[in-house]
Symmetry: C2
Subunit: 168 residues, 2 copies
């Protein structure tokens, strides 16, 4: 289940690429630089679009690493363009996909430490359910909301992406 | 795991009550009716705050029901005040807490039908990971973002709520 939950987070990250496409189309149609959207934010003291993507990526990358007994690869926060953000998502997904189901064996018994909570640990399942999932979807949704608020024609189905329906 | 994942969604719903408190304090300090926030939205063609809460509640309620072999209780979408939204969250959580771990036995083998996808079914784990979790956190985050955008002093820790850290 750890593997599927983390891979689903990665799929929802990938769905942002459709939102990126629509952001580019919107900027082109309105004749403005798409970079303006990348530095947009919903409140002056909230982080911008670029940070939302970086942060979403990092929560997914960290979960795939720590819950499979690895140290996360370092991804510098130096993206400035939409193509660089696409690349950030792609290398995050590539790392997540490099971790197979067997490597998550014992994930629920792992104890995870977080840099911002010195002297504390959190169990693997709590880490997945209380940190990885809420934070990943928080930052993906905030990125989506920045575009939506700025007139980009994104919709819920872009966010959800493909659903594994089968015929009844 | 189904039980813990769904109960965590319910906990994140409960965390919204702190955001409600802050919304009321902000409206009082600025001398406006908090109801204005409840009908606020991030884009003219996106749903308002009230709908975001109703929808988040319904995804959690539906998961607790369908994945434990029950029909979800009907909660009318008639909330108009912040106290009514608090009550909506409370009755949702009460229902989720009425379902115990044993009732989720076999949840991953259940086949779920969704009203908006006639003739289709989705497996229990896909339903949890692709529908319940992304939609619940989408609507909670959007509700949070509406407040944040309108100057309410909410922060990420309000959204995350208590984390099960233990001493290292």
């Amino acid at each position: 289940m750890f593997c599927q939950a983390i891979q689903q987070c990665a799929k929802n990250l990938r769905n942002l690429e459709t939102c990126f496409d629509k952001a580019e189309q919107h900027a082109a149609a309105k004749n403005f630089d798409v970079g303006i959207l990348l530095t947009s934010r919903l409140a002056p003291d909230q982080h911008d679009f670029i940070y939302q993507i970086q942060s979403a990526c990092d929560y997914v990358k960290a979960a795939a690493a720590w819950l499979s007994g690895q140290t996360p690869p370092k991804h510098e926060d130096n993206e400035r363009t939409i193509d660089e953000l696409r690349e950030r998502i792609r290398k995050t997904i590539a790392f997540v996909e490099s971790v197979n189901d067997a490597q998550y064996a014992g994930a629920s018994e792992r104890k995870i430490t977080l840099s911002w909570a010195p002297g504390k640990i959190i169990g693997g399942l709590d880490y997945l359910l209380q940190m990885t999932i809420p934070n990943t979807y928080f930052h993906i949704t905030t990125a989506y909301a920045i575009l939506r608020h700025n007139g980009v024609d994104v919709g819920k189905m872009d966010y959800l992406g493909p659903i594994n329906f089968v015929d009844a």
